[in-house]
Amino acid sequence: MELLTQILQALSTWCLIDTWMVVMAALVAMACAIPGSFLVLRRQSLLADGVSHAALPGVVVAFLLSGLLPAGSGWSVVILLAGAAVSGILASILIEQLKRLRTIHADTALGIVFTTLFAVGLLLLRTLADRIHLDPACIVFGNLEVAVVETFAGTSLPIGVVVALVTLVLNLTCLWLFYKELLISTFDTVFAESIGIAASRVQLLLAVLVAVTIVGAFQTVGSLLVLGMLVIPPATARLLTYHFPSMILLSMGIGLFSAVMGHILAISLVGPLLASIGVDGIEAVSTSGMMVLVASGYLLLALLLSPEYGALSRLGQQMRTQMRIAEEDLLAVLYRLEEAGRQVSTKDLSSLVAESTGQPAWRIWAASRQLIRRGAMSYEDHHYVLTEIGRQGGRQIVRAHRLWETFLAQRLGLRPEQWHDNASRAEHYISSELRHELSNDLMRPDQDPQGRQIPPES
């Protein structure tokens, strides 16, 4: 309760700066989602890592040029992003040329070009250190808190917000213009080439978008964490949808929420939480770090809850299969007892099923409840009796079992002691079409290799 009060108290100090920080972070996150979606699908996530290094010389030169302009002018932003774009183009062209030599593999070419360009950038940075105000630590880690303080001369509009907005608009425009080319070249490069959409041009476009996006995000989340915003939201969206436009929209939404939640948690939760375990004096932590953590949290949730890939849905599916198998086992045992003209009490039946199939008692109980509810059997005078529906089900399982044993004996030549266990597993997966096919293949046998009757389909 005390924690909650503290959180609310921390939030009550929310001011304009906080709003600008959230807006800037959200714009950056949404901009990242667009090229990021393509990177994830192209399995080129590492390209972002490389481009973030290769962009350095372009950024340094851009800073040098913008130093010639009066402070607080909008042109410095344009120059900065253009510098990034030039770096991206340069890196892509160098990589293509290196790959053409064929003695250097694509991944090696990536490593060579990006580190070389980074080294050039580093030398430039050190040489020009007196003339430009570029803090390397700020580039690597980002500094949202500082970024929103720098405003356009005479206004309260932070430069960083405009940079982020320009990046987002650029990405949206390119997505709108080149959606078809980006999509087809990502899905089927060879076919795209065959209809005249050159893979190298699409790759170049993507590299430019990635470079501009990363540079636009330098101040917000830094050149390291921006990789997270490029890759994590699309990877999360990928788990949740099978529709590509939805994947991009969802990535943008996840990015947006990560930014908002990230800042709220950074200023409100961590301080009080640490105070409650005795670490005092921490009011807020890095918004950029928290933003990426929140995105990772969403990914974790998606991994658990995704309808297709989620751990929970897989578990559910597994349990449903196990239950179906238990029901089928129960029906098959009842059918065999009926065939032998025997009747056993429900208690003996449960232990019989448990013994022959290894099913736990609780599942056999649950399966019997389910079968009665479905009208496959009824409970009469301390024992279960199959209804016509249940008898049909049992007959099909026994038929599958005995057909499969015949198949194992005749076609695969397995030894008698190998038949039963194998067939007990396979019987649950042999559909009526497969039974039909098996029966035809085996010349419609009416007895299994042990001389028991193979019941008809119905």
């Binding site: 699908l41 899905f187 060879v190 209809i195 005249g196 099978y242 529709h243």
Partner: protein, 262 residues
């Protein structure tokens, strides 16, 4: 037919084409003139350069020497008259895209850069999917389709291209017998509509049953022409070298075929 007296409108003329990966030549000096309105198989052992022949002709991989003309012109000038179907294994079938969207890609070549896919393209794609019997799964994600259905999605995309020459890389790879039959009848229907189809094929047994013409390839062009002319024991031996068991099998089929026709 040879390169000298080729008709100017032949769908595909290859002149002295050599292709190398690095320094290793994979195709040597191929000369080929394809007839019109025929179903043509490219046959040869693994690593013979069958797929390479198609890709190099289309300029998807660089040619070391020689040229390829489509309907008498370089490929760039007649892209829209040619449809290429890559191997099914060349794409990621987990991609978040529907069968309809893949088929609609067949119309992208006509749409051009900067333009978006319109309703016409969607309708063409849907019609193509219905033609290959996939109308009811058009909206499904491609990963949910069987291997045979995926191959047919690729064919639908080619049909949506509405070309005059179809180049297909192993359309029968890893599909079941039913799909194979339906693909064959589709190809025959294309031929009956006056289209030419060249197919990379790996099953020598079915060549005479499915195709009109055949091109035997093993690093070089060994023979090309009608099936009965080309599938001779000598040619097969030159193509497959020591693989006598296959030769025997086919030789038997060939002799059976000859005794039927003569």
């Amino acid at each position: 037919m040879n390169a000298e007296n080729s008709p100017p409108d032949s769908p595909l003329v290859i002149r002295d084409m050599t292709v190398a990966y690095g320094r290793k030549p994979v195709l040597w000096n191929v000369d080929y003139v394809s007839p019109s309105q025929k179903l043509i198989a490219i046959v040869g052992p693994n690593g013979a350069g069958k797929s390479t022949l198609l890709k190099a002709a289309l300029g998807l991989i660089p040619r070391q020497n020689g040229e390829a003309l489509f309907f008498g012109q370089p490929y760039q000038a007649v892209r829209q008259r040619v449809a290429y179907v890559p191997q099914r294994s060349s794409v990621d079938w987990d991609f978040p895209i529907s069968a309809l969207e893949v088929a609609a890609m067949g119309c992208y070549g006509r749409v051009g850069w900067f333009r978006s896919v319109n309703r016409d393209a969607k309708n063409t794609a849907l019609a193509a999917l219905e033609q290959v019997g996939l109308g009811d799964v058009a909206r499904r994600q491609i990963g949910q389709l069987s291997g045979g259905q995926q191959q047919r999605v690729f064919l639908a995309r080619a049909l949506a291209q509405d070309a005059d020459l179809y180049l297909m890389d192993e359309p029968f790879a890893a599909v079941d017998a039913t799909t194979e039959q339906s693909i064959v009848s589709m190809l025959q229907a294309l031929r009956d509509r006056g289209k030419t189809t060249i197919v990379v094929h790996h099953d020598l047994q079915t060549v005479s049953e499915y195709f009109d013409e055949v091109l035997l390839l093993n690093l070089r062009l060994i023979a090309a022409g009608t099936v009965s002319e080309v599938l001779t024991p000598q040619n097969l031996k030159a193509t497959y070298g020591g693989q006598l068991s296959i030769l025997d099998a086919v030789g038997q089929r060939m002799s059976a075929r000859q005794s039927v026709t003569s």
